[in-house]
Amino acid sequence: MALFALRRLLLSIPLLIGITFVSYVVIGLAPGGPLDFLTPEDPNASPEVKERLIKEFGLDKPIHVQYWQWLKRAVRLDFGRSFLPDGRPVSAKIAERLPVTLFLNLIELAIIVGLAVPIGVLSATRQYSLYDKITTIFVFVGFATPDFWLALLLMILFGVQLGWLPISGLRSLNWEYLSFWRQQWDFFAHLVLPIVVATFGGLAGFSRYMRQSMLEVVRQDYVQTARAKGLSERAVISKHALRNALLPVVTILALALPGLIGGSVIIESIFAIPGMGQLMVQSVFSRDYPVVMGNLVIVASLTLVANLVADITYALVDPRIRFGGRRGRA
């Protein structure tokens, strides 16, 4: 088992390097460069500054040399400094954005799983019932609703018309002056709308997976067997069926891990939440290569780790995979 994990881990190193190389080349090929945004389209901008910055950033070298320089620093976990005028280290920029995104996404994921599992199980066990039909409609509506649109509608209703909830941001501007409990309440109130919007879309897909997976499992022989030996329907579903139905769902969960870090650009922009999604988009738009690459390395590594975790869990659960390489399939 350890050997299997180790082998997979080693294999992902060249993969990661490959990903970073392709990303580096692709972002470098995108039209425009960081200089277009630092030295503006302006009659009074000086061309010398441009040349100077090109040298300073090393953009005058061929792209493979640039990549090599970047890689040498990146293996020491030094992602350099942002090209933007603030010149801050990439790691600092990411570190200040990561907690918010992680926090929000963990809550969202917890809510999604908490709701999607029962919704999916119920609609599977009562396939084609009225409940199943209603949830199906609900789910497809959720799937089809653009989240920026839903966000604006909710903001107009709860923020502008009713005035119950704050519209954007994470904290009120007088937050420092509130009492401890008021602070918590304020923070919570700011989280409600973004979380509702984010979970609404995610819930739809996830509960469908759950339903599908459950439907397959209930048709299996061992579920029939469990029923045949006289177990109550409740025990059949929760003990025998659900456990097995959860397996593929766990994989999907593991694969959702990188998304936790990446954050949602739309939600973060519309609710003015300073998270990773915004950072990534802004750095791409301003061609801030070091920040783009820093972000990418994190997300790519997480994707690889998530894949690894998913495979290992499978292997743990299913011996056929674990020993598949040596013994052949039974």
Binding site: P40, E41, P43, S46, R97, S168, G169, N174, P274
Partner: protein, 552 residues
């Protein structure tokens, strides 16, 4: 990214008195009902929405508008713009020119202290100059300083600037942010200004002190009680970064922000016209300092013929564009100089909307519909087809292209429209001059010097004369206008330039947009002027009874 040029161009004007927005006499609208106001009082927090985060806190190193807005509060220049767009003393008490326009002497105020208590003197000014011209300093706007021959300080409160040739914008140059020598010297020498503490915890001399910058979230400033022109009334200023235009507008409706620098046309004309909004906010309207144009590529043999350009001007109805694209919230442009400034004139040739005349001019130039398909052809039967290009994401420019397409079709010209992402548009089409027609905007400073836009020496790929315009008379006038410090002489040069440009039409000047800011009604002391509304920000106040944020 609409109006990137415009934004960047705000630099010089902003420093010199928050005067991004221009004006015209008697065309300023909006206003506050001051009758019920209480006496001025200190306190309250002013919340401003900003669509982008600041780039850094040494604004000389940045080119985005947000950085310069915040920077203009923290730092001061030797001079600034007053409400009528004139240069007036700020950190300098006065300035004098020598007769030959080559020597400029500033007398500095003696009562100015940096926010950390360190006294300000002439060394800081000399240092700022040295920092700006240092080749290691990545400042995007240093042209003005490179023309300076020497700067010295004969005594701690006198600065003496010497030029090789007379430079008309010399005084304006010194509206730049003065930087603290005692905090920055070593970083400038090492070429690491961007990494200095000053770039994240700035110390300035301005009306507001820096308190906090949470990247992507907000910048907080607090009033400087020792400000040499008196403590500002509003105690705190918060710039909230809200990256979505729609969210900013909803925050405005929910009274979450106190100031938005410009509404869209539809927001101004329709979506804010209800009683509750009118009670909570005051809306203002005055011409912004930019113009929108259709530029010809003069390298194209068809457009090298002036009659063709004039025919296009006759075919386009500017008022229709203003009504259709801006809901009437713009004014017809006659040339590149900012209306309301001393150099501006509207006594220039105009090409009224007249399709018949347009066809005549085109026929004179050899374009006729020879095969009866509704499209004009030249002698060899080649049809007149052009492509209008503009950047993606700018709805206004897209609509202009569409309306113009229709109008040109009526005079027999087939037009295609191509929208391209900003960076690619500039790099692939505008810079290498691979275009036929473009729709773009350009900012106008307060000084009329536009040497870099119109002079024939500025036609290189990285230079600003993008239409490729070359006219020896204009060249001579631009040179003369730029090297004189006598305003009455300069007026003549620039009037003549505007006359020639209006005839020559290297571009069709469409309109000057109106800036449409809103300010919360509880803020008093706002009085619109030719330079906009922000010029007297330090005098804005909220009467005690109406103060909303008690803390801070």
């Amino acid at each position: 990214m609409p109006g990137r040029r415009v934004r960047a161009r705000a630099v010089l004007t902003w420093i010199a008195g928050l005067g991004l927005l221009a004006a015209c006499n008697g065309q300023i609208e909006g206003g506050a009902d001051e009758a019920s106001a209480g006496p001025p009082a200190y306190g309250d927090t002013f919340i401003q929405a900003s669509i982008g985060d600041i780039g850094g806190l040494i604004p000389s190193l940045t080119s985005d508008q947000s950085s310069h807005e915040v920077g203009g509060m923290i730092y001061d220049g030797l001079v600034k713009l007053d409400k009528d767009l004139n240069m007036v003393p700020a950190m300098a008490e006065s300035w004098t020119y020598s007769k030959d326009c080559l020597d400029l002497t500033f007398k500095l105020r003696r009562d100015i202290k940096w926010h950390d208590g360190y006294p300000f003197n002439a060394d800081d000014v000399v240092f700022t100059y040295q920092a700006m011209v240092n080749p290691k300093t990545p400042a995007p706007f240093k042209e003005g300083f490179l023309l300076v021959k020497s700067v010295d300080a004969p005594d701690p409160y006198t600065v003496h600037v010497h030029y090789d040739k007379p430079y008309a914008r010399a005084v304006e140059t010194w509206g730049t942010y003065i930087l603290p020598k005692h905090l920055l010297q070593s970083f400038v020498d090492a070429g690491t200004m961007r990494e200095s503490p000053q770039n994240s915890q700035p110390v300035g001399t301005g009306p507001y002190r820096f308190q906090e910058w949470k990247p992507g979230e907000k910048v907080v400033l607090v009033a400087n009680p020792d400000y040499y022109e008196g403590r500002p009334y509003l105690s705190r200023v918060v710039y909230r970064v809200i990256p979505s235009q729609a969210t900013i507008f909803l925050e405005l409706k929910a009274k979450g922000v106190d100031y938005v620098s410009t509404l869209t046309g539809i927001q101004y004309a329709r979506q804010t016209e209800y009683p509750a909004f009118r009670k909570a906010y005051h809306k203002f309207r005055y011409p912004a300092s930019d113009y929108t144009f259709i530029g010809f590529n003069l390298k194209d043999p068809r457009f090298a013929d002036r009659r063709v350009r004039q025919a296009f001007a006759h075919a386009i109805n500017k008022q229709e564009l203003i009504d259709g694209v801006r809901l009437g919230l713009a004014r017809e442009a006659t040339g590149p100089i900012r209306p309301g400034t001393w150099a501006y004139t509207d006594k220039v040739a105009r090409f009224d909307f007249d399709p018949t005349k347009a066809r005549e001019l085109l026929a004179e130039a050899g374009w006729q519909d020879r095969d009866g398909d509704g499209v004009l052809e030249d002698k060899d039967g080649k049809p007149f087809t052009v492509t209008i290009r503009t950047n993606q994401g700018n709805d206004e420019r897209k609509k202009i292209a569409e309306i113009v397409q229709q109008r040109l079709k009526e005079i027999g010209i087939k037009v295609d429209i191509q929208l391209i992402e900003w960076a690619a548009f500039i790099k692939e089409f505008v810079k290498p001059r691979r275009f036929e027609l473009v729709v773009l905007g350009l900012g106008t400073g307060t000084d009329p010097d536009q040497f870099v836009v119109w002079h024939s020496s500025q036609r290189g790929p990285d230079q600003m004369n993008r239409t490729g315009y070359a006219n020896p008379e204009v060249d001579a006038l631009l040179e003369a206008g730029r090297s004189s410090c006598v305003q009455s002489e300069r007026v003549r040069y620039y009037h003549r330039i505007q006359e020639i440009l209006a005839e020559d039409l290297p571009m069709i000047f469409l309109y000057n947009r109106d800036a449409l800011p809103v300010v919360a009604a509880r803020i008093h002391g706002v009085s619109p002027s030719p330079s906009g509304i922000l010029y007297n920000f330090n005098e804005w106040y909220v009467p005690k009874a109406q103060q909303r944020y008690t803390s801070g």
